[in-house]
């Protein structure tokens, strides 16, 4: 059974996957796997990008988003024509010759990865380049062009350790058993720079303690040689108190919400 394992810590946001998908599927007819994709507007693999934080504590998080090839794919039973099927290797295909354009699959898919082709009156999506896999390729175009090998594709058994070691799926609560696993999804951060306003120097080694206001759980980091502290991997929308201490000087922040990433800016420690 095939899986995608996508390591987001090495996704550089180059969009090569999105482009190569178009190169493969626009103007090329791979019936019975897929009919041509329209030139624009469809993204069988789409890079999602999000700018996190504020100047100067900013990162960009990228994520290739594609058909999850779910084991419990809701698009399959939703199709009135039985045009959608799951292959033995786990890949979910919309048969372009059976599809009659009812669009029920589009409504059924919670991931928004099925597109409608008005000209051909069919629903379309990622095929994992099954037409290539069936002709000797070991991986789809998106994985072949990925310059950092962030997109990995193969037998699930090849990736057992990676998947067990903290891989996540999107919207696990839906229980659809997606076959696309992500490593290192970026979580929220709280960051800042601590400085001494009299000396006009960064404060190195200040102890920063972040306390979860609900659970009381604490984590501690100290500021680095730029006076920076970073708390990474925080859950979304939690509440925290932050205490910064150095040589008897203390600064506290209350009710920091991680609804967004938080940059507390340059913080004078007096």
């Amino acid at each position: 059974m095939k899986v995608f394992v996508i390591d987001l810590s090495i996704c550089n946001g180059c969009y090569s996957c999105q482009i190569a998908c178009k190169d493969e599927h626009v103007s090329n007819d791979w019936t019975p796997y897929a009919k041509p994709q329209p030139d624009t507007g469809q993204f069988w693999v789409k890079i999602l990008e999000e700018v996190r934080g504020t100047v100067p504590k900013v990162r960009v998080a990228y994520r290739p988003h594609l058909c999850m090839h779910c084991d419990e794919a809701p698009c399959i039973p939703a199709c009135r024509r039985n045009a959608i099927y799951k292959r033995e290797d786990g890949i979910v295909i919309i048969d372009p010759e059976k599809c009659a354009g009812h669009r029920n699959c589009i409504d059924a898919c919670p991931y928004g990865v099925i597109y409608f082709n008005e000209d051909l009156n069919i629903a379309q999506k990622c095929t994992s380049c099954a037409h290539l896999l069936d002709n000797g390729w070991s991986k789809p175009r998106c994985a072949d062009v990925c310059p950092t090998e962030a997109i990995k594709f193969g037998e699930e058994s090849e990736f057992t350790d990676l998947i067990a070691g903290g891989a996540e799926v999107i919207s696990p609560e839906l229980g659809l058993k997606p076959r696309v696993y992500y490593l290192n999804i970026m979580k929220r951060f709280v960051a800042g720079t601590v400085y001494d306003p009299e000396q006009k120097e960064v404060v190195i080694g200040a102890i920063c303690t972040l306390t979860d206001t609900k659970s009381g759980e604490k984590s501690t980091v100290s500021t680095d040689n730029f006076g920076d502290f970073w708390f990474r991997g925080l859950p979304e929308d939690s509440g925290y108190d932050l205490k910064i201490e150095r040589d008897g000087r203390v600064k506290t922040f209350h009710d920091i919400r991680t609804k967004k990433d938080v940059n507390l800016g340059d913080i004078p420690l007096t």
Partner: protein
């Protein structure tokens, strides 16, 4: 033909080394799809073709027809981790999308003539860029051009024709753009050459050369083997201005990305110093220090101040390896001018907090640090960019430049493991020396010399074309050619040259580099000068109807690499391996297009110069001549090369022993001097002092230049009251300079274009939420960027990837004038860049770090322009790919 088919069939049976094969592929050809231009290749790709159409472009798998072991792959190791080459090339997204470029609706399919340009009557130069074109035959086009050449020669002399043959484009050898017209005109008494300045690395060229000698185009040299050395020894690298996730894309591909991730994995800290959170900083930065554009010199001086004050520089090295430190010290500490260059002094100038300046100075001094660029982005492309460039060398010099882990690095552009043909100490041009001695050398190399070498009889720097046309004579110091000596910068040139030497003003332009308006300084003045009546004829040859083509009188359709047979050595570094490709024709030429070489041959026929231009050689013979002339036959037979279409140069067995960078100079500067007059790092340049004693803009030691005769682009300027924002302009993310702005698949990417409320796809303008709010600008609004030199429109991206006080706009967007020379809808920011050169004696361009204001453009304003300039808005436009061929051609849709 049946033989050809049989051969392809036979090749179709080849199975790749890892068992992969394209489904139903009729043939696979190889192409280097780097877009830097010239004969250095890059981004080797496999192109699958079926039924005469390109079906896909994919990375070349080096082990397709060879065994990996033959390559002797290199390896970098540190902290128990290993980086090895992948068995594939890493092309950029626009390389992968190049099919769209080849089949662009904007391709020029047949020769064109401007409707109101009559070589026998009225020429209407004032309508260049305004009036449309109509189809003519090849016969007519070649005849007109031949007659114009003869007429101009008789009336003014041969040097009245300007060859604009330099620039960026596809990598080909026999058929390449950039200079084939020189082959013809050289046989007819010569021409005036537009000399291309070092547009991406001005500061190194005009500044750093005076500190460490010529370097490699001004950057640190030798740089052999420094990638391994940095990987093993650096604690920290400073990415100062350049973007490893953008600029390398158009040249060799994406290997720098892998290298940066590996450096993170082994614990090398990556600090980005740049006004924008560029694409490298977005994913690799351990620390981003935003700095106002073109204020790097202030930060650098404050770092030097801190090192002197705290005694944290290598005093012994400075004593033995440098000259003039005392003068730098006197300036920095304020004994020279009464102003100590403290962090407190620097902070308001550069926008970096005092405490961060001090912290950076201490980190730099205490950690083994290299500075990494890919040319340097905005940092080396602003007014007076020679100053930050020289100061960078001084910074490195004060920390023992040359010792393990202390280098300036063009990330992976140089310094990768040597292959079996790369001699030690050999620069990237070295390989062509053998070819230069071969019988076909003149035909093969002459056109390619138009970009790096000033060999025309009369010269005009590319940065001064508008001044040369509008206000001759012009004088300049140094030709500005990429490959020339440092000493050339002390030579005064004048255009036109004396009459008795054939000197004349130019009256005809033959361009195959139609991007002067959008990629160089003050494009609006170029538009104005091109429409001057002195210019009687403008010929453009190009595959796409874009940019300067629109200002031509005759346009000849050239074709792309997909449509020709050629050969290309991918020998510059930056790929996993270096290789040579036999680039077979993938598809038939589009429309009536011909290769850039064949285009010139058509005109040559009309002038009875065909045999002289071709030197009696066929394309096939020329390809073989490259193969033999460059000595590839020593490594692979012509037969095997023809069978496999490529060859990968194995890594040299002893590459790890190559001394890294300037280590020899570091170890013994007396025995291994630098190529400077003193043999040392010249913090103070006696030569500059002697040649330009009065120059306050590039004094003998580098300084902070607040303003000068040439530029007044600082926030302290009076002008800043009207134009309070600084422009950061880097090389584009989704183009290579002006190339690829019409690819529908990249234009869908949110950072490539912004769809305005009028449906037009605008060039993005990055603006900080604070600056946007003050101006009532919302995300995706149409905005106008303007100063005294004109205005361009763009689409606002209001976000945190840009510091307050700065807007960022990539250069190279496709010109789409509303008012030619005044208002551009396409977003070609360089149309309003400074007109002046870098500084008084330095003929480079200053196209980042200049003052503008930004305001929101309402739909009623757009409608007002529509009423005033209806023709500008009636051109056929497709949001997916931009302006269409039909927009400019009468009856173009037929």
């Amino acid at each position: 033909m049946s033989e050809e088919k049989d051969r392809l069939k036979a090749r179709g049976e080849d199975v790749t080394a890892d068992g992969e094969r394209a489904a139903e592929t009729e043939k696979t050809v190889l192409k280097a799809l780097g877009l830097s231009g010239g004969i250095y290749g890059g981004a080797p790709c496999a192109v699958d073709v079926k039924n005469g159409r390109i079906i896909r472009i994919r990375p070349l798998h080096y082990d397709w027809k060879y065994n990996k072991k033959q390559f002797n792959p290199w390896k970098f190791e540190r902290n128990g981790k290993t980086l090895e080459p992948l068995m594939k090339s890493l092309p950029s997204p626009f390389t992968l999308a190049y099919k769209k470029r080849v089949y662009s609706p904007n391709r020029i399919r047949y020769p064109l003539k401007r409707v109101d340009w009559d070589p026998k009557g009225e020429r209407h130069p004032e309508n260049r860029g305004k009036s449309k074109f109509k189809r003519i035959s090849w016969e007519e086009a070649a005849e007109i051009i031949a007659n114009e050449v003869k007429r101009i020669h008789e009336k003014y002399g041969p040097l009245a024709i300007l060859v604009q043959g330099d620039g960026h484009g596809e990598c080909k050898f026999v058929h390449a753009p950039h200079g084939c017209s020189s082959l013809l005109l050289d046989k007819m008494g010569g021409f005036t050459q537009q000399v291309r300045n070092p547009d991406s690395w001005e500061g190194w060229y005009w500044g750093a050369k005076h500190v460490w000698g010529p370097g490699l185009i001004g950057m640190m040299n030798p740089a052999e083997n420094i990638v391994k050395d940095m990987t093993e020894n650096c604690d920290m690298v400073l990415l100062w201005g350049g973007d490893p996730e953008t600029t390398p894309w158009g040249f060799r591909g994406q290997f720098p990305s892998r290298l940066c991730y590996f450096w993170s994995e082994i614990g090398i800290k990556q600090v980005y110093i740049c006004p924008d959170l560029n694409y490298g900083a977005a994913v690799h930065a351990d620390k981003w220090i935003p700095i106002l554009p073109n204020t790097d010199a202030a930060l650098q001086l404050a770092i030097i101040y801190m090192w002197i004050k705290e005694g944290t520089y290598d005093t012994e090295y400075v004593e033995t390896h440098t000259v003039g430190f005392d003068r730098v010290k006197a300036y920095v500490m304020g004994t020279e001018d009464g102003i100590p260059k403290t962090p407190e002094w620097a902070s308001p100038k550069c926008g970096v907090p005092e405490w961060t300046i001090k912290a950076l100075a201490r980190e730099f001094a205490s950690k083994t640090t290299s500075i990494v660029h890919y040319f340097a982005g905005g940092m080396a492309r602003g007014p007076y960019s020679h100053e930050p460039a020289r100061l960078e060398v001084i910074l490195l010099g004060m920390q023992g430049l040359g010792k393990p882990g202390v280098h300036q690095s063009q990330i992976a552009y140089e310094g990768m493991p040597r292959n079996i043909i790369g001699g030690k100490g050999q620069s990237h041009m070295g390989m062509f020396q053998n070819l230069a001695k071969s019988p076909a050398a003149e035909r093969l190399l002459k056109p390619h010399k138009v970009t790096p070498v000033a060999w025309g009889k009369q010269l005009i720097p590319k940065t001064l074309i508008h001044k040369a046309i509008l206000n001759p004579p012009v004088t300049f110091w140094g030709t500005g050619a990429i490959e020339t000596t440092t000493e050339d910068q002390f030579v005064k040139y004048t255009y036109p040259i004396p009459k008795e030497k054939g000197g004349t003003e130019i009256h005809m332009i033959w361009t195959d580099t139609p991007c002067r308006t959008t990629c160089w300084n003050c494009g609006n003045e170029i538009i104005e000068s091109t429409r001057n009546s002195k210019i009687e004829c403008v010929v453009a040859q190009h595959p796409w109807l874009e940019n300067d083509c629109l200002f031509a009188d005759i346009i000849l359709p050239s074709n792309t690499t997909m449509e020709v047979d050629d050969i290309i050595p991918c020998i510059r570094q930056g790929c996993h391996f270096q290789s040579v490709l036999l680039m077979r024709q993938a598809i038939k030429p589009i429309g009536e297009s011909k290769s850039d070489y064949e285009v010139v041959c058509e005109v040559a026929k009309k002038l009875d110069k065909y045999d002289e231009v071709t030197d009696g050689k066929t394309v096939e013979e020329l390809i073989k001549a490259v193969f033999d002339g460059m000595g590839f036959n020593n490594y692979v037979s012509w037969e095997e090369f023809n069978e496999k279409d490529y060859y990968v140069f194995p890594v040299a067995k002893d590459w790890e022993q190559d001394p890294a960078g300037l280590i020899k100079f570091y170890e013994d500067p007396e025995t291994n001097p630098l190529p400077t007059p003193s043999g040392k790092l010249e913090f103070y340049s006696e030569r500059l002092a002697q040649n330009f004693p009065e120059d306050k803009e590039r004094p003998p030691i580098p300084k902070w230049i607040e303003k000068g005769d040439t530029h007044d682009e600082n926030l302290s300027s009076e002008r800043a009251k009207k134009y309070p924002l600084l422009v950061m302009s880097n090389h584009p993310r989704w183009r290579v300079h002006a190339q690829c702005d019409d690819i529908s698949w990249t234009r869908e990417i949110p950072t490539c274009k912004v769809k305005g409320p009028d449906g037009y796809m605008y060039e993005p303008i990055w603006i900080n939420p604070k600056d946007a709010e003050r101006r009532g600008i919302n995300n995706r609004d149409i905005v106008k960027v303007y100063n005294e030199r004109g205005a361009v429109l763009g689409g606002a991206m209001v976000w945190e990837r840009i510091m307050p006080g700065v807007i960022s706009m990539d250069h190279g967007a496709r010109v789409d004038s509303i008012i030619p020379g005044e208002l551009d809808r396409g977003g070609a920011i360089n149309t309003i860049a400074p007109s002046g050169i870098i500084s008084k004696h330095c003929g480079g361009q200053a196209t980042s770090g200049f003052l503008v204001e930004v305001e929101k453009v309402s739909m009623s304003q757009i409608e007002e322009w529509m009423r005033q300039y209806p023709e500008a808005f009636q051109k056929e436009y497709d949001p997916a790919s931009g302006l269409r061929f039909n927009a400019w051609v009468e009856g173009g849709s037929q």
